[in-house]
């Protein structure tokens, strides 16, 4: 508990320091390119109450939610499969790792051509980002399951489905959760990137629209909202992650 308290205090100090740096930059650079922290928060409050904001937010969240659901389902299925089948896993794992390093933005035009400009292209693009860490962490978790557990399962003559349900999955939960946590962040990045390139709605569109309007406050407010959302959800997931890992 004490370490949690210390972590909390550290996070607080960090946030204060970041806001202070922001304010200092504002004094240094000036109004034309930067909005002060206070002005940004004020503008955010106004923006959030505005009528079109809800539509943009909902659009992003919907694409993100479907993409993440897809990532989880496909990621777990493929991860378990590759963890089971030694050869397939050995062959495909390095290829999936390599796919992580590819700038996936460049693949987005292909998705746009295949799915058209709209929700599905955004969803698929988000899912491509999210599915990779979920596969890799699940695969590693299945492979690292203690052999004695698997032997116990074999001795009970469990079918493959039962093996996953009663042995592999429970043993792999902490690792899988780490994969889901990373997958969550990457899916969010993917969905936002898709919106920033080509769309008429969503938070990513709002950001790019801010450049066209040269509306610094709008850009900073949306950036702030995205950063705060991503950082707080990720901290929460990280907390659960640590607890799960400590239990085993």
């Amino acid at each position: 508990m004490n370490s949690h308290l210390r972590g909390f205090v550290n996070a607080l100090v960090l946030i204060v320091a970041l806001v202070a740096i922001w304010q200092a930059l504002y004094w240094w650079i000036g109004d034309s390119a930067l909005a002060s922290p206070l002005a940004t928060v004020r503008y955010t409050a106004k923006l959030v109450r505005g009528e079109s904001f809800e539509m943009h937010l909902f659009d992003t969240l919907r694409a993100f939610a479907i993409a993440f659901a897809l990532s989880v389902v496909i990621g777990l299925a493929v991860g378990f499969w590759l963890g089971f089948e030694k050869l397939s896993g050995d062959v495909l794992e390095p290829m999936i790792v390599a796919a992580y390093a590819i700038p996936k933005v460049t693949l987005y035009p292909i998705l746009l051509l295949a799915f058209g400009l709209g929700l599905s292209a955004k969803v698929v693009f988000g899912a491509i980002h999210g599915v990779i860490p979920i596969i890799l962490f699940t695969l590693a978790a299945v492979r690292n399951t203690k052999p004695i557990l698997i032997k116990a399962g074999r001795a009970q003559r469990l079918s493959r489905g039962q093996m996953v349900r009663w042995i592999l999955f429970p043993a792999a939960v902490p690792e899988i959760f780490t994969g889901l946590r990373v997958g969550f962040s990457l899916t969010l990045i993917g969905s936002l990137l898709a919106e920033m390139f080509a769309s008429q709605r969503g938070l990513g569109f709002l950001l790019m629209n801010g450049i066209g309007l040269h509306n610094v406050e709008l850009i900073m407010s949306v950036t702030l909202l995205i950063v705060v959302f991503a950082a707080s959800v990720s901290s929460l997931l990280l907390y659960v992650d640590h607890r799960l890992h400590r239990r085993t």
């Binding site: 320091a17 495909l92 590819i102 933005v105 460049t106 051509l113 990045i189 995205i226």
Partner: protein, 251 residues
């Protein structure tokens, strides 16, 4: 043992390409969506031979290199400094833990407004993506330097700089290399990604330009070029990393 796996991988890629080729030739995938792989290969060859994209390629490569070098230098220096200062490191820890959950690209519009639509925002995005990976891995490497080395350094009365250069950094090198490998990938992703979203030049820009003009004969070869480049770079660095780790008996 190693050869068969490589062959399998090659077979998987070949099979995928073959399936795409068949789908394109039979018209299941129409010409507006995608060109047949052999046409992509032909166009890519022509593009490289005529040097039509050399300017864009050079621009992207230069910006990637700058942002990588910046991320590497700043990352290693910050890592070394933070390793000495426990308080600062603890304070920054929550930042490092959540850093990669934040979509760094969301800062791109902001950087454009501050620095204008030039090379700087792209380089900064690549830098921001990569630098924390270098810092975290440098710290990780320095944590694992055996205490006997620092004791030896003290016995030999080495200066701080000499200790760092001839003891600590070499000992931490394999871990730092992991960070550097990530920084290369992130610099590439950051530069290409921001070129793609909004810019005035570079491969990412050319791809998005070709997309808006329905110019598949330019778009697909460029995409393939980027995929090949990033896989090749990543593969080479992984090989080097494995060698370095292997020499220490770490893998």
């Amino acid at each position: 043992m190693r050869r068969p796996l490589w062959l399998y991988r090659l077979a998987v890629v070949a099979a995928l390409v073959a399936v795409l080729e068949v789908l394109c030739l039979t018209g299941v995938i129409d010409k507006i969506t995608m060109q047949a792989p052999h046409l992509i290969a032909r166009d890519l060859y022509r593009m490289l031979v005529t040097g039509r994209m050399n300017g864009a390629i050079a621009k992207t490569a230069t910006n990637t290199l700058i942002s990588f070098v910046l991320a590497m230098t700043a990352g290693i220096l910050t890592g070394v400094v933070l390793h000495r200062h426990r308080m600062m490191r603890d304070t920054l820890d929550p930042l490092f833990a959540t850093y990669y959950a934040v979509p760094i690209f969301a800062f791109y519009p902001f950087l454009i407004v501050v620095f204008g639509l030039g090379d700087t925002p792209q380089i900064l995005i690549g830098f921001m993506l990569g630098v924390v990976a270098v810092i975290v891995n440098t710290l990780n490497g320095l944590d694992r330097v055996p205490t006997v080395l620092s004791k030896t350094a003290r016995v030999l009365r080495l200066s701080h700089a000499d200790t760092a250069l001839s003891m600590t950094l070499p000992a931490a090198a394999p871990y730092i290399l992991t960070g550097i490998k990530l920084a290369v990938a992130y610099a590439f992703i950051g530069v290409i990604g921001s070129e793609f979203i909004m810019s005035r030049g570079g491969i990412g820009y050319e791809i998005s330009f070709a997309y808006t003009n329905f110019d598949n004969a330019t778009m697909y070869p460029l995409i393939v070029l980027i995929v090949i480049a990033s896989v090749a770079i990543n593969g080479l660095l992984s090989l080097w990393e494995r060698r370095l780790l292997g020499r220490r008996g770490l893998q």
